[in-house]
Symmetry: C2
Subunit: 138 residues, 2 copies
DNA sequence: TTCTACTTGCAAGTAATTTGCATCTATGTT
DNA sequence: AACATAGATGCAAATTACTTGCAAGTAGAA
């Protein structure tokens, strides 16, 4: 937890208890979670923590590239650590989330951008799959 | 505009002026648009049209598979006709949207699902690309 | 033409996220 | 170690996209 504090300070942000705890939650969690989920988790550790603080931190941590927002067709935003780029398969019934990496997806981006008339550079992309997990498809 | 009316009736929905006008807007429009955009457009054609009607119709037309919701990282939903499956490249600066089809993306789904431990069937997927268009990247 | 289920307009309600502001605190400086 | 201050936080109020309840209207079947 040493590098994190320096990283934050270097970006002009303070390593507050709330912020460190939030990052910690994501370090110990492999699937995307919502502000509300972070909040519930944090309440057990920090008395007097407010959801607003969660929202503000999820937002700033995301712009700094420490977290990233994941769009999984929910009516609220999900976040996860912004390490090792990957995609998700989501069960639309029970919300099980499996993540996967696939080089070909990434290679395809080049092919696609070459064919494009209006774009020459890509900043990011999303590739998410929705279906029923084995348990739910019975 | 004959087939549409029958299609709607067959699904137990009435071919009301509002509903037909909404479908028409999408027929004459190639990029995903929001409820608010549909509303602005409709106001010039139907006096006394209410946004609620737009929301309700976008929703029902989507569940019927006539429209589909598109997720482009906006804070509102976008919709487009649910014909010929495709994906988008979006300019994060000026919101220009280019659409493309790519067989390989679709083929990849099979490869991915085979490697999955928890999923065997896919219902849908999203693959959206974000970057700067030529005009905006100067 | 009549009947009725589906629609619509309008007002009010939700739910997620944001903002204003007074108070507080982590960190650099003295 | 005490100080100064930019950045954080809690709390309440505001925003915003979207939904819901209800009474009145209308498309389509008979
Ligand atoms: Mn993930
Ligand atoms: Mn499209
Ligand atoms: Zn499942
Ligand atoms: Zn552009």
């Amino acid at each position: 937890m040493q590098g994190i504090k320096e990283l934050l300070n270097k970006k002009g942000h303070k390593a507050t208890p709330a912020r460190l705890a939030i990052i910690n939650i994501f370090k110990n969690n492999k699937k995307p979670i919502s502000a509300e989920e972070v909040y519930k988790n944090l309440k057990t550790k920090l008395k007097n923590i407010n959801v607003t603080t969660i929202y503000r931190n999820l937002s700033s941590l995301s712009s700094e590239g420490i977290l990233r927002k994941v769009d999984l067709k929910k009516d609220f935003d999900l976040f996860e650590l912004n390490e090792d780029h990957h995609h998700h398969i989501v069960c639309t019934d029970c919300n099980k989330i499996e993540s996967f990496k696939n080089k070909e997806v990434e290679n395809l981006l080049n092919t696609i951008i070459k064919k494009s008339n209006n774009f020459k550079q890509i900043k990011e992309h999303s590739f998410e799959i929705f279906g029923l997990c084995k348990a739910c498809s019975k």
